[in-house]
């Protein structure tokens, strides 16, 4: 009898694992494919000389602009890695590429709408924050984080980009323009077949790591991480740290995480913000995807910066919010 019970428990764990794993993989996969296709099209059709001219000369302006690029060129976090890699190869400065990669999965029309929807209706005003304020806080904090990390990475890149990334960067020279003119004359079949090759290379490359990440996330979900640590949510400091760790481990899609956060009623504002801002920027599956583009040194820098900046921002927002409330009382 006892053995049957334990066997049943083990089996239900397998159910949990298989369902989580398959749903994460097949949910993210089409977005990776679209990202890979865009990456292939960019590689083949975006003329490098023109692209170089489009980047603002002012470094800070360029980084801020890249952080907001998601508004016109939205990408979700799964699709963004191949696109970012391609833009990097096309000569987008590393700081700008990092800012775009970090911010676009949050600051884009789809995620703004889903965050608004998640915190409206019966879930709004739980922390005294309306859904509009929640969207503003999420996007604002993401922008600040992306901008700071982008600027710091940009500084690092001055010393030598090749210590940081695995992507060869093309040097824009005069001949490039001629070469592009020559490229433009190629027949369309050849261009499409080049797009196909680049896209499929990226697809295989990124999917492999997506699957490993999904496996880890499904494994942790099976262990019911969130309900095991719920006692940590009572204090705003531990809540922020715990929720950030959960965001990394759960690997939720940036369109869905707002719904999950909105339903965690006991978590204070600092925890929700930490979860909502860090989740789309960094999680296990993204970590594995990063290894395809960045070298260890850069990954470590980005991860540490993200944790420090987002933790500081969430905590200060929490205390400012509390202070303002006391003032108004």
């Amino acid at each position: 009898m006892h053995t049957t019970m334990t066997m049943f428990a083990a089996l239900s764990g397998i159910d949990q694992f298989v369902v989580s794993f398959q749903s994460i993989v097949y949910e993210a996969l089409p977005f990776v494919i679209i990202g890979a296709l865009i990456s292939g099209i960019l590689e083949e059709l975006l003329p490098q000389a023109m692209f170089a001219k489009m980047i603002p000369k002012n470094r800070y302006l360029a980084i801020a602009g890249s952080a907001l690029l998601g508004l016109v060129f939205p990408m979700c976090e799964c699709g963004i890695v191949p696109v970012m890699r391609r833009l990097l190869g096309k000569g987008l400065p590393l700081g700008c590429a990092v800012a775009y990669m970090l911010c676009a999965p949050v600051i884009n029309p789809v995620v703004i709408a889903s965050t608004w929807a998640a915190f409206s209706g019966d879930r709004s005003n739980i922390d005294g924050v309306t859904s509009f304020q929640m969207v503003a806080l999420r996007c604002g904090l993401s922008f600040i984080t992306g901008f700071i990390v982008g600027t710091i990475v940009n500084r690092m890149a001055v010393k030598g980009v090749n210590d940081l990334i695995k992507v060869p960067i093309k040097v824009v020279a005069l001949e490039t323009v001629e070469e592009e003119a020559a490229e433009a004359k190629r027949p369309w079949t050849q261009r499409v077949s080049n797009i196909a090759q680049v896209a499929l290379h990226d697809f295989i490359d990124i999917t492999c790591f997506l699957i490993l990440g999904a496996m880890l996330a499904a494994f942790l979900q099976t262990f019911e991480l969130v309900s095991r640590v719920s006692f940590l949510f009572e204090n705003p400091w531990t809540a922020a740290l715990t929720m950030m760790a959960i965001a990394v481990l759960l690997c939720l899609c940036s369109e869905a995480d707002a719904f999950v956060a909105a339903n965690m009623l006991k978590v204070p504002l600092s925890g929700k913000l930490g979860f909502l801002v860090l989740g789309p920027m960094f999680d296990l599956k993204l970590l594995l995807m990063f290894t395809r583009v960045f070298k260890a040194k850069l990954i470590v820098t980005i991860v540490i910066l993200l944790w420090v900046i987002i933790f500081t921002l969430s905590m200060s927002t929490y205390y400012i919010d509390r202070y303002l409330r006391e003032l108004m009382r």
């Binding site: 397998i14 398959q22 996969l29 089409p30 060869p168 680049v198 699957i211 369109e255």
Partner: protein, 352 residues
């Protein structure tokens, strides 16, 4: 040797692309033609709009597959052996030998670094695959796992049901707090305020049930004999914030709600919940929506046990809705049920 491993690389890319394309399109088509073997199709793991994205993704893969297939011979022909440092490079020029020399010049600047990559790449193997050109089959093993699971028909209906059940039972357990004696006494007298935390998953006792039912009887009487109006649980969640909607729903003589049956207490007055999962993107982020129901009618025999997944416990109930104010000032919905009928699980059983 090198040519051979590149050939393998291309071949496997081609196979994987084709396989994923076919699987994704098949998932979509079989769902809409009702070909899936179990009660629940695999596509129901993700929400409706992403189902279409899966279809589009599958089509993209199949189209790319054919482009790669038609160019397979020329691409594998091996006239790009001089570019072994850089993968982007050989993709660009796999089919176009004519601008080789151009491109190569631009890369010379970074040449030293490529060599550096090369050495490092070999120490941590699969991550730097592009740089060493030995074909690395290990990389394709993770890619096979979701495909193998799909071919095995996993997750099947039973697995998905267990997952759902686990999800909402956990959420009931997390929210459940026994009502205090005082609260119970008040409610058994038919008091109009309820402790906020007892909804939607209080551990009810029969005395509370009779209290609730008495109160509802007093206010509304039985469901009227008219054509039922369909409402789903997400509409009720929305109404909790909107007094105008509450009045509208409460004015209906008979409403019908579908969902999974979850029995709490059986007796002269029975208490149960109707549960549905709400999903934003995929089943991993699903969260339950529940409605507390009271009834004097007997519970159908097949629903009396607590076991079983949604397929055996899917019901439609008809009755009258009531909105009451809990003592934390929030509205709560409750339904007095006059008809419980087993129903068929819809192909996509989740709410948005």
């Amino acid at each position: 040797m090198q040519r051979n491993s590149q050939f393998m690389e291309r071949l496997f890319t081609l196979i994987m692309t084709g396989a994923y394309g076919v699987v994704m399109v098949w998932m979509f088509i079989s769902n809409y033609l009702g070909w899936s073997s179990g009660e629940r199709s695999l596509l129901s793991l993700v929400t409706t709009w992403i189902q279409y994205v899966i279809f589009i993704g599958g089509i993209i893969l199949i189209v790319l597959f054919f482009f790669l297939l038609f160019n397979f011979k020329s691409a594998g022909g091996g006239h790009h052996h001089s570019h072994e440092h850089d993968h982007d490079h050989d993709h660009d020029h796999a089919n176009c030998g004519h601008d080789h020399s151009h491109e190569h010049d631009h890369y010379h600047k970074g040449e030293a670094d490529h060599h550096h990559d090369h050495k490092e790449g070999e120490t941590h193997d699969c991550c730097d695959h592009d740089h060493d050109h030995n074909w690395n089959p290990i990389r394709y093993i993770p890619l096979l796992i979701p495909l193998i699971l799909i071919v095995m028909g996993l997750p099947d209906t039973k697995m998905i049901e267990n997952f759902e059940k686990h999800l909402y039972e956990k959420s009931v357990k997390e929210q459940k707090r026994p009502a205090t004696n005082e609260q119970m006494a008040w409610m058994s007298l038919g008091a109009f305020t309820f402790p906020g935390e007892v909804f939607p998953s209080v551990s009810f006792s029969t005395s509370i049930a009779s209290g609730l039912l008495g109160m509802i009887d007093e206010m509304d009487g039985e469901a009227r004999n008219e054509k039922p109006i369909m409402i789903d649980l997400s509409q009720i969640e929305k109404a909790l914030k909107d007094p105008a909607l509450q009045r509208q729903y409460a004015s209906y003589g008979r409403v019908e709600i579908e969902g999974m049956f979850d029995l709490e207490e059986m007796g002269p007055y029975s208490l149960f919940r109707i549960v549905r999962l709400r999903m934003a993107c995929c089943l991993t982020d699903a969260r339950p929506a529940m409605l507390v129901c009271v009834t004097k009618k007997p519970i159908p025999a097949q629903l009396q046990s607590k076991g079983g997944g949604s397929t055996t416990r899917w019901v439609k109930v008809q009755g009258r809705l009531k909105f009451v104010e809990a003592n934390d000032g929030k509205s709560q919905a409750i339904m007095k049920v006059s008809l419980i009928e087993p129903a068929k699980v819809p192909p996509f059983p989740y709410l948005n």
